[in-house]
């Protein structure tokens, strides 16, 4: 088993759960530790209940894990809800003035903090949080100077007095723990590595900047809004035009308009906004103007559960906009991949002049992961495809004296794309069906032969896209007893479930799908046909990927593990479900989520 350590911090929104979370995250990452954080919260600005899990360790931490080692409830509600999650060896740090513990498992250490004795709580309303941070760090075997640096940064905007105040309060907690609590047996290790900590939304925004996106627009919608926030904050430095638009219909149309002028253009939304965008995707396909649209899925249908995760929009993406047209759909596998995928999908969208769709979800969009800076490459290959532009008024290719055909029929289906402003290449791009020169064949006369030719021209691009995208690969031993199939964000948790199962004597491997369209059905079928027992894991009710896989390959897995309660999978959910399925108890497992928020 990997060595990891997880902290759970629970409280009401507005009580300051995020600040201790940020402080712990910074300290861990500066010790050269990896981390993964997930915040379970609700659509409320003040009140309610949130529960932040930060898991750290010297090796890659791919998910929130199963175990809480240190629990810091900031109010009674959190204590009552989550104390039962702790098992032997765990500790609970709490404000003894206001919170009463309840029944706990054997071997759980209670660490009551006499907050009003350690700090002047009339002056410092969040003293309990700072004291708990200090105490927690001591118990993890981390020296106080690490905290000093971070507090300095965290509070420097508020002035020297606030820094000193927080420093002394944290010190009081640190010293109190030294005198009264038992430290964790293994102090947190240190490595020479240094990581960046980022959310999937930041990763996708930065990935856009790295891909050369010059135009980004959006309408705020959870959980995609973080992309807009990063873009807006960094727009001037990165040279990106960022606009907030009146609705998602406007968003996608504005993005396509900008793309049509010849720049890379991107937008992000969640399922509801994506629904409004779908007509625009058809326009992108018909005009052959590439655009990249990100859908950060949340629990649906309709307004659904805006702050919860789900993989429920696959069929919406597959069927978005009427008519047949080539499209690319990819689901990032983790937060690092949220960065890497964007330049890749732009290259494909540009080369094949079609919409590129990114299917992310709240788990990645709002989760946090440590990523090595070398994996955030701002010089990825940029392939704009067959694009004819001007450079300050001079045509980049010879004017064609009226012979230019924007939708020229080619073997690849891709026609060289001139952008407005280039002399000698004047044409109209239309959403109506058109001939090679752009003239409509939908109104005054329709022409079945031309229509067929144009349809086939566009659809020929599918073969090229398929060749440009790699097929998925099997991870783990070929002859494993169980093959777990997943797509997108479940990569990390399935990976850990495979490790646990293998350790427990059930060798397991994993097939994780990143490119949903094109799917490479033949390659998938070849892998799965050779597998002994296949189980498909996905975060939705109806098995959306299972149905898609069957429609593309006729393959039906032996079993399914599904979750649609709004929360992500934890490794033990999958491990236990695999065991019950191997025992023949069921073919469909729906694990119960234990953390109630």
């Amino acid at each position: 088993m990997k060595q990891t350590f997880a902290i759970g911090i629970g409280g009401a929104a507005g009580q300051g759960v995020a600040t201790p979370g940020d402080i712990f995250a910074k300290i861990f990452s500066r010790r050269g530790l990896n981390l993964n954080a997930y915040n379970a919260y609700q659509s409320i600005i003040r009140g309610g209940h949130t529960f932040l899990t930060i898991r750290t360790g010297p090796e890659k931490v791919t998910n929130m894990g199963d175990r809480i080692d240190l629990f810091i409830p900031l109010n009674q509600d959190s204590m009552d809800r989550h104390l039962k999650l702790l098992s032997s060896g765990a500790a609970c740090l709490y404000n003894a003035d206001t919170i009463r513990p309840g029944p706990a498992a054997d071997g759980v250490q209670f660490c009551p903090l006499p907050v009003s004795e350690l700090a002047d709580i009339t002056r410092n309303k969040v003293a309990q949080n700072t004291i708990a941070i200090g105490a927690g760090l001591h118990m993890m075997g981390i020296g106080f100077p690490a905290l000093e640096d971070v507090l300095q940064e965290q509070f420097k905007k508020k002035g020297a007095a606030v820094v000193t105040e927080n420093m002394s309060v944290a010190r009081a907690g640190y010293d109190y723990a030294a005198a009264h609590f038992t430290d964790f047996p293994n102090p947190l290790p240190k490595t020479e590595n240094r990581y960046a900590i980022l959310s999937g939304n930041i990763a996708m925004a930065m990935g856009g900047a790295a891909a050369g996106v010059k135009f980004y627009c959006a309408y705020p919608m959870s959980p995609s809004t973080g992309v807009l926030h990063w873009m807006a904050a960094h727009a001037r430095k990165a040279g990106i035009m960022v606009r907030q638009v009146e609705d998602e219909i406007g968003v996608v149309n504005m993005a396509i308009g900008a793309a049509h002028a010849g720049i890379r253009s991107m937008c992000a939304t969640s399922g509801g906004g994506f629904a409004l965008m779908s007509e625009g995707l058809g326009m992108s396909a018909m005009m052959e103007t590439p655009v990249v649209v990100i859908n950060c899925q949340r629990a649906g249908p309709s307004t659904g559960v805006p702050t919860k995760t789900e993989q429920g929009d696959l069929w919406q993406m597959l069927g978005a906009a009427f008519g047949d047209y080539p499209r690319v759909i990819a689901a990032p596998l983790d937060i690092g991949d949220c960065f890497t995928l964007i330049p890749e999908i732009f290259n494909i969208a540009d080369r094949f002049q079609c919409p590129g769709l990114v299917l992310c979800d709240l788990l990645l969009s709002e989760g946090r992961l440590s990523v090595h800076p070398r994996d955030l490459d701002f010089t990825p290959p940029i392939d704009r495809g067959e694009l004819i532009t001007t450079n300050n008024g001079a045509p980049s290719s010879v004017p064609t004296n009226g012979s230019y055909k924007r939708y020229k029929i080619t073997e690849s289906g891709v026609s060289p794309r001139a952008v407005p402003g280039v002399p000698g290449h004047i044409h109209t791009a239309a959403t109506d069906e058109h001939m090679e020169d752009g003239v409509l064949i939908s109104d005054e006369f329709t022409n079945p032969i031309k229509r067929r030719e144009m349809m086939e021209k566009r659809m020929r691009k599918v073969a090229g896209i398929e060749a440009a995208v790699p097929p998925p690969v099997l991870c783990g031993p070929r002859d494993a007893e169980v093959t777990l199939i997943g797509w997108g964000s479940t990569k990390g948790v399935i990976e850990e479930a495979c490790e646990i199962l293998t350790e427990q004597g059930i060798p397991s491997n994993q097939l994780q799908i990143r490119w949903l369209v094109p799917l490479h059905g033949d390659a998938i079928l070849e892998i799965l046909k050779a597998s002994r027992h296949t189980i498909l894991v996905e975060n939705n009710y109806s098995g959306q990927f299972a149905r898609y896989l069957r429609s593309e390959t006729s393959f039906v897995p032996d079993g399914h593990i599904r979750k649609y309660d709004g929360e992500p999978f934890m490794p033990h959910h999958i491990v236990e479900a695999v065991k019950e399925q191997l025992a023949g108890k069921t073919k469909l497992s729906v694990p119960m989520h234990e953390i109630m928020v």
Partner: protein
């Protein structure tokens, strides 16, 4: 205006002739609008490769196919959103947006209002015929109360939108009304609209000879009165423009209702464009800037 490429030769009306002839019904008001646009471009001598005509869907939205400039024939109601994106990506282009009253004030109403408050530098020409033509004659947002159509056979009971008042209220910086049958006047309005730095809105009466038997040439001719004929009318005063916009009946004003030049257009307010149009900028983030993006996460 948008004239970065050297002019090798004079632009003529013949240069603007599209690949196909208009398929509008004989007598349609849209012919007059197309003709006035062409004359305006020739008079302003804007190279046709630097002009983009963008439309939605409908009879009048077929216009980009009939003029030899770059064109985008987009989705029903979405022309303004597409045009805003294109203009912001390359503000050296002259962007004309053309369409009908259903396209602009019905399905596209939201984009109409927001394009005006943003003052995007577009010239928006609505061929207003108070009817849905391409769908064979239904009530439009500008159809009068009582008008009988296929969708309201017993007469329209909904009040029409007043595009001029709406534009003034939404903060448009150039608001005008033209009449398709008055070529000279309309051409001048379009020229001024193109030259205006900001959003220019032109609502143009463009009679539908097939489906609208109420608002015909015969109906308009005695009613339209040019604001320009009144030397005391000052189009820089918003409140009198609003008052004039409410006139409807025996006398219907046409001409330039309002223009203000003190509001910068959207692209002129955006520091990201200080180095020129986005299309000419380096897409790569400079390495030292990229480094700061990563460092702030560490």
């Amino acid at each position: 205006m948008a004239t970065t490429a050297p002019r090798s030769s004079q632009l003529t009306l013949a240069d603007l002739k599209g690949k196909v002839d208009p398929d509008w019904c004989p007598g349609c008001g849209d012919f007059g609008v197309l003709s006035a646009i062409e004359k305006a471009l020739v008079e302003l001598q804007i190279p046709n490769h630097n002009v983009v005509a963008i439309s939605g869907i409908g009879c009048s939205s077929n216009l980009p196919g009939f003029i030899n400039t770059y064109g985008m024939h987009t989705l029903h109601g979405r022309a303004l959103a597409v045009a805003a994106g294109l203009k912001l990506a390359n503000h050296e282009l002259t962007v004309l947006v053309t369409g009908g009253d259903g396209d602009g004030f019905g399905i596209g109403g939201n984009h109409f209002v927001h394009s005006m408050r943003r003052n995007v530098d577009l010239t928006y020409i609505v061929m207003d015929n108070q009817i849905y033509g391409l769908t064979t004659g239904q009530t439009s947002p500008t159809s009068r109360i009582g008008m009988k159509t296929k969708s309201m056979p017993f007469g329209n009971i909904e009040a029409p939108v007043n595009p001029i008042s709406l534009a003034l209220a939404a903060g448009a910086t150039f608001v005008a009304r033209g009449y398709s049958a008055d070529q000279k006047h309309l051409t001048e309005l379009i020229k001024r609209g193109i030259e205006h730095k900001g959003f220019s809105f032109l609502d143009v009466f463009s009679p539908c000879v097939t489906y609208n038997h109420d608002n015909t040439y015969q109906w308009y001719r005695p009613r339209v009165k040019k604001l320009e004929d009144d030397p005391s009318y000052d189009p820089s005063v918003w409140i009198t423009a609003m008052e004039k916009s409410l006139l409807w009946g025996e006398e219907i004003p046409i001409g330039r209702f309002f223009e203000r030049t003190d509001v910068p257009s959207l692209h002129a307010s955006e520091p990201v464009l200080n180095e020129g149009p986005l299309v000419h900028q380096d897409p790569r983030v400079p390495p030292e800037v990229a480094r700061t993006f990563i460092e702030e996460l560490m």
